[in-house]
């Protein structure tokens, strides 16, 4: 295997599984293709019915064969039942070598593990967590895991890096002609943002619903002209209560509350916290607390922002309701409060994944962000951020919109404690690079704030006396002193089990199988 070093110093093979890889050369590159991908032309004639009563019928109609590709959205997060349901059906039909392209894999999908081991699922394109991620780390899947950001996923579907044979869309409501929305019905999940590129670019699109409504459904998030079949099931497609079971709780840890407060101090010092502010934060406990502190400050000072983006959470929606933003752009609703707001508040706008974050489009919303607060599992002295692997080398998470928002926003803040237990967060070199250091402006910890010397805000932030700024090397030294040394490097084999793409399609890093 021949390797090339990319811009963040990672060795990238020239080719993997028959596909040529493009090494990452810095943000703002591409497109690497001239034209968008075009899906097959299908036809529904007057008098044709789209309604089916089983998933198997839809799989047959879509013509799925061995080696085929199927896609899903994860708006039900850890309450999604459809991905598992479809995979069980595929296994029953004796299909194999299937490529899964969901927008995320959650712990609820742990039961698919056996299909990885049996070669029924051989490639996965998305961020993963739980047992599936762990099994891939240990080499249990034959093919490759490709981790993309939300914007990168949309780009890969639009430019044909991923050709979807069948897109299965868990649909809280649909009419019999395939007009879908996510805000009505017993199983409302809110925005259907991640499913939108799939609906437009898949060769066959299946809406799966428990709630068939009279034609025309209204509002329409995904429209009939993209949808080939409507499968009406009795078995629930998802459990909306599962939306909030992972990652969403405001922190009460005083250390994290200090970090959250300091994030707002950084935004204030940058000069961006003024009329017209646009803002996004992740869904981690610290980011949610920061959103609340931002809200309090804006209220107290009478500052009105322009838009908030997400990952819409109750915290963000309350800011909209308090008049602190004119609008929310919502690619994914993180809790039931946000789902209801999308239904009832005209200022709460649903947005597709490409509109949100596809870099190779005519303009995505992350480009208009003033500031974003994000998390990390590790950050290194070059400010490269790892979100996908633990420091022992195992795959644990995806990356959401990390790369997209960190490139797009003027001021990107990473908020994390200096160490978690005995594991240091600041290291010499992160295990995996998910966002390159050139995207990151500030790293806020409970023991100090490190500003990237390459950041346009370096001078203004380091000159602000009220901020406890330190060099990132000093923060690292402080962590090592507390912990008693540097962590041992993970032991890996030479087999590549995963790649991390940059949002433009070039390759940032590869993930090796762990030993044992």
């Amino acid at each position: 295997m021949k390797f090339v070093k990319n811009k963040v110093g990672r060795s990238i093979p020239e080719e993997l599984f028959g596909k040529k890889l493009i090494p990452f050369t810095g943000k703002g590159k591409g497109p690497y293709k001239e034209r968008k991908y075009a899906p097959k032309i299908r036809k529904t004639s007057p008098g044709d019915s789209k309604v089916l009563t089983s998933i198997q019928e839809a799989i047959k109609k879509g013509g799925l064969a061995d080696g085929g590709t199927i896609s899903f959205h994860h708006h039900f997060r850890n309450g999604d039942y459809l991905l598992n349901m479809v995979c069980h059906e595929i296994a029953k039909m004796g299909l194999k070598d299937i490529r899964l392209v969901p927008s995320s894999i959650q712990p609820i999908n742990d039961e698919l593990l056996t299909y990885l081991e049996k070669g029924i699922i051989t490639h996965i394109n998305c961020g993963t967590s739980g047992k599936i991620a762990d099994a891939i780390s240990r080499g249990k899947m034959k093919g490759l895991l490709t981790i993309r950001s939300h914007g990168g996923r949309a780009r890969s579907i639009e430019n044909g890096d991923v050709e979807i044979d069948i897109a299965f869309i868990a649909s809280p409501t649909s009419d019999e002609y395939g007009n879908i929305n996510g805000v009505h019905g017993k199983y409302a999940c809110g925005s259907l943002g991640y499913a939108m590129p799939d609906a437009q670019f898949a060769n066959y699109v299946v809406a799966v619903t428990n709630t068939l409504v009279p034609f025309p459904n209204n509002p329409i998030s995904i429209s009939q002209d993209h949808v080939d079949s409507v499968v009406l099931l009795k078995k629930p497609i998802g459990n909306p209560a599962g939306i909030v079971t992972t990652s969403l709780r405001v922190t009460r840890d005083p250390k994290n509350l200090k970090i959250a407060r300091d994030c707002i101090e950084v935004i204030k010092a940058s000069g961006l916290l003024k009329e017209g502010l646009s803002f996004q934060s992740g869904a981690g406990g610290t980011a949610l607390a920061a959103t609340q502190f931002l809200s309090q400050y804006m209220k107290a000072k009478g500052i009105k922002g322009s838009f908030g983006m997400g990952g819409a959470t109750e915290a963000l929606v309350r800011m909209l309701e308090d008049g602190l933003f004119d609008a929310i752009l919502d690619v994914q609703s993180f809790d039931i409060y946000a789902v209801r707001s999308l239904l009832n508040n005209p200022k709460h706008i649903e947005m597709g994944a490409s509109q949100y974050a596809n870099p190779l489009s005519s303009g995505c919303a992350v480009n208009l962000l003033d500031t974003v607060i994000l998390g990390c599992t590790e950050i290194d002295t070059k400010f490269n951020v790892n979100t996908s692997t633990e420091s022992d080398g195992r795959i644990m998470h995806g990356m959401g919109g990390h790369q997209d928002t960190s490139e797009g926003a003027k001021l990107t803040i990473i908020a994390a404690p200096l160490q978690r237990g005995r594991i240091p967060i600041v290291v010499d070199d992160v295990v995996s690079v998910n966002s390159p250091g050139e995207n990151i402006d500030v790293f806020v910890t409970e023991r100090g704030i490190a500003v990237n010397p390459e950041s346009q805000y370096f001078d203004i932030l380091t000159k602000t006396k009220s901020l406890n700024t330190k060099s990132i090397e000093d923060l690292k030294a402080e962590a090592e002193k507390l912990i008693g040394g540097k962590p041992q490097k993970p032991k890996t084999t030479d087999r590549i089990v995963g790649i991390i793409e940059y949002r433009d399609g070039s390759v940032l890093d590869v993930i090796y199988q762990v030993e044992k």
């Binding site: 420091s391 022992d392 594991i423 008693g484 962590p487 041992q488 993970p490």
Partner: protein, 90 residues
């Protein structure tokens, strides 16, 4: 010092460690069984930290079980010392 009975110190709270000690036959040495979320990164260091405490107390034979929840060195040493002293009947 000689371990004469089973004893423990610490807890399974986050950032703590539960150290249990049991008497061992003469000549079997210091045996440590470690469970830790940071085993890959810091396992060797944690073993050294526990062994240092046993050596300092001049304990020759003991079976130690350590269930770590991400504790730091000073905590590990303190829990180890308490567990060992309790096991020695102090």
């Amino acid at each position: 010092m000689k371990i004469v009975k089973s004893a423990q110190a610490g807890s399974l709270e986050s950032c703590d460690i539960l150290i249990s000690v049991d008497p061992a036959k003469e000549g079997t040495g210091i045996k440590i069984n470690l469970e830790s979320p940071a085993k890959t990164q810091f396992g060797d260091l944690i073993l050294v930290e526990i062994k240092e405490v046993a050596d300092k107390l001049e304990i020759k034979d003991v079976k130690i079980t350590a269930i770590d929840k991400g504790s730091l060195g000073y905590c590990i040493k303190a829990r180890a010392e308490t567990a060992l002293r309790r096991g020695a009947g102090e």
